[in-house]
Subunit: 200 residues, 2 copies
Amino acid sequence: MKKGLLLVLSGPSATGKGTVCKALLKKRPDISLSVSCTTREPRPGEIEGKSYFFKTQKEFESLIEENAFLEYANVFSNYYGTPKSFVDAAIEQGKDVLLEIDVQGALKVKEAYPKGVYMFLVPPSMDELKNRIRSRGTETAEEIEARLGKADAEMKLMHRYDYRIVNDVVDEAVCAIEAIITAEKLRVFRYEEEIRSDEI
Amino acid sequence: MKKGLLLVLSGPSATGKGTVCKALLKKRPDISLSVSCTTREPRPGEIEGKSYFFKTQKEFESLIEENAFLEYANVFSNYYGTPKSFVDAAIEQGKDVLLEIDVQGALKVKEAYPKGVYMFLVPPSMDELKNRIRSRGTETAEEIEARLGKADAEMKLMHRYDYRIVNDVVDEAVCAIEAIITAEKLRVFRYEEEIRSDEI
């Protein structure tokens, strides 16, 4: 069976990864969103195995030791990680899996899955990104400065991605991702077995 | 100005390159078809600069010496060649240029234009290709055998292309090419100057 694609949607914070991701999944129910593991408490309405796989700290640390994560991070004393098994199983079943993930995480995933499709979401302009970060209104001037610096640094990692998608109009970004999915499925290197076996 | 794409549509004979090419150009008048030079006589209705650039043998051979062709070949004592100047001018003007060309020619072009988009058209199956070649009815058994052998050998060069497009339904092949064009325009390596200049 033809393997599914690993689709990685990444980019600096405030570029709208979450919004684009939701719109894509709504339009394309054939794509599976990768479900992360976390040690944080479930919030009302969150469903085990759908929102997250909820783990205790001890369970999570065992999984780290077992090398069960494609990438993980500790944010405000809670672990978040992408379980390898979920992604592998879906891909083997021929399903396309979407990962919405920060720049550092995406580049870690790329080491393990070089055949994944790495998409970098950018704002229409750096000024626009700065406005978006500043207008959140929940952070101190210092926190905003730190975020802006981080966004600048992350923009410099774009060259390690495959595609650059401008998130100006969400629907257009979704159409761009759909075209990328169609094109990636036609890439010759995904037919190596067929080529070796001399079939079409 | 953003450069245009060099789109190269290739594949073994009888895979329907010409048909797909025509259907694509009809749907996408924004794409320019590369016009070849030839030394053969114009046929009724053929237009200089549109069907071909018609050249004398002497003119053609001067152009060869001037290295003016991306690739050229001599078929039944007539020269056919792809002029570099036409392709370069269109790409510089931001136009996407389509080359419909045989496998040997396409791989020569790839040496000069590694950033081109190399698409390999395949039939739904090798049996189907063999039927198509046999049913042309204009060739001797020997010519057919030669063509079949050539098609087999050319199929083995698919791995040097970027994309593999099955030509079963022409409209679907055209949609596939359109998705490839959209995706290729989003590839990060086409934004190197921006990345260097630190802009989005």
